[in-house]
């Protein structure tokens, strides 16, 4: 009986592990979707009103980018007199969940801090367009990974779990 329970526990652990991997892949996709949403909000407000960076950050954080916690923090630092580029980098690096899940993408996003607010509206729109292309390609890639992992990881988890249980039994 004890052996059977142990085997069940091992099987469950593998299944949970599989699900967690799938969930991380899903979270990556959601993060990138929000980055693209942020860039869309930036573009719209820049084109319509030439809005200052502080307003762009506020609108994006209020406008559906709830996962991008660094937006609000960056707005606060900006209001306290910190230079945007430094505040942006600092806040992204402090958002550990984001950096852990998307290390390469977070570096690319940090790079965007050197461009935002430094040119005229046309320049800003080009910058947003450039980063939309980069993150658009990222999204396709991560969605593909997610599609595969959503099905694969839980199944692998079940398979390894059952194998381990049988082995133990």
């Amino acid at each position: 009986m004890a052996e059977f329970a142990a085997a069940l526990l091992v099987a469950a652990a593998f299944v949970i592990g599989g699900r967690m991997l799938a969930s991380a892949a899903s979270e990556r996709v959601e993060f990138i979707k929000e980055i693209l949403l942020m860039l869309n909000i930036f573009e719209t407000r820049l084109r319509y009103a030439g809005a200052p960076v502080s307003e762009l950050l506020h609108l994006a954080s209020e406008g559906g980018c709830s996962r991008l916690l660094f937006l609000e923090k960056c707005g606060i630092l900006l209001a306290e007199g910190e230079i945007f580029k430094d505040a942006w980098e600092k806040c992204i690096r402090e958002h550990t969940a984001f950096c852990r899940l998307l290390p390469e993408e977070s570096e690319k996003l940090i790079g965007m801090g050197s461009d935002i607010g430094r040119t005229d509206v046309e320049g800003q729109l080009s910058c947003c367009g450039y980063y939309k292309e980069i993150f658009g390609a990222c999204l396709l890639e991560k969605e593909e990974i997610f599609r595969r992992s959503a099905a694969l990881y839980p199944k692998l988890g079940i398979m390894f779990g059952v194998s381990a249980a049988l082995f133990l039994a």
Partner: protein, 315 residues
């Protein structure tokens, strides 16, 4: 907010180390500083009532230039430029091209560099090498005397003339506040067309100066267009605008006068002779809608040298 507090607010636009040095000045030093001039690879200069001073690295003002005076390099100046623009060059592009940016508190930062032109028009400015921060000092009551003389019996047309730095804008700003405030019990519908952003000092959508509670303000519109917007959409009792000079502006004012709206406006004139000889003044006074004109002395902000009635000016 007193002048010392306004100074403290203005210097917050600098990097923390420089801000700290300026905040360490005595209250009397803070109150006496009118402008802070920053140039790449040159010492920081504070223009005070008693002349130009350098900022010593120990945090005091001195008239002696030495190796201990604080200087800025190009990178630091560029950082200050971005701070002045709230890290949003795109938002302030037109203002930068015109040569100044209004920062929080209504302080004006003059910005100089190399102009990038297109068909003879400045389209952007690169290599910023000098910034002049003018500490704004809102003088409540600057228009008290003028108000008592010209508006005691109700709203009417007024021309405010004077040389540069005589306080024309300060007077117009205080007039807007008094005409549209509860203080005098008038509560007129005031419309301010602030082409250069000096009357209201709007920064990121917030009006920095007190223009009263019943005042509508538009900023950066060319005056000729702004006046027509005021007439069409805001049905004001009085329209206030600064530095009238062009034919288009006069035409817009004349169309306003025909609808019965009054105007309080400023005109550059260094002396009574210059005021009398200006065709624009004659044309406005001949419309019969400007009962009064004042010439500011230039010796003290808002100090009136002479009052004129319409008849005096064209007689």
């Amino acid at each position: 907010m007193n002048n010392s507090e306004r100074f403290a607010q203005a210097v917050r636009v600098f990097p923390p180390a420089l801000t700290h040095l300026f905040l360490g000045l005595t209250d009397s030093e803070k109150e006496s500083v009118r402008e802070i001039r920053l140039r790449a690879e040159k010492p920081v200069v504070a223009v005070t009532e008693s002349g130009c001073c350098f900022l010593h690295s120990s945090g005091r003002l001195t008239q002696i230039y030495s190796g201990h005076t604080v200087a800025l390099n190009s990178r630091e100046l560029e950082e200050i430029f971005h701070r002045v623009c709230s890290c949003s060059v795109h938002t302030f592009k037109d203002a930068i091209n015109r040569g100044f940016v209004t920062v929080e508190g209504g302080h004006r930062a003059g910005v100089g560099g190399t102009a990038v032109t297109e068909n003879g028009r400045v389209v952007s400015v690169r290599d910023i090498n000098c910034i002049n921060l003018r500490i704004a000092r809102e003088i409540r009551g600057a228009a008290d005397e003028i108000y008592s003389r010209c508006f005691s019996s109700g709203v009417g047309g007024l021309i405010v003339a004077g040389p540069p730095s005589s306080g024309k804008t300060t007077v117009l700003r205080d007039l807007a506040r008094q005409l549209s405030g509860v203080e005098r019990g008038v509560l007129a519908r005031v419309f301010v067309c602030d082409e250069r952003g000096e009357i209201g000092a709007v920064h990121c959508g917030r009006v920095q100066n007190d223009l009263g509670i019943n005042c509508d303000l538009i900023t950066s519109y060319p005056k000729s267009e702004g006046i027509l917007i005021g007439l069409r959409s805001f049905s004001p009792d009085i329209i206030i605008c600064d530095e009238i000079a062009t034919e288009e502006e006069i035409l817009a004012i004349e169309s306003g006068l025909r609808t019965g709206v009054d105007f309080a406006l400023s005109i550059h004139a260094g002396s009574e002779t210059e005021l009398r000889s200006k065709p624009t003044v004659r044309r406005l006074v001949e419309s019969g809608c400007f009962a009064n004109a004042v010439l500011l002395s230039g010796k003290e902000v808002g100090k009136v040298e002479k009052y004129f009635s319409a008849g005096d000016l064209i007689g």
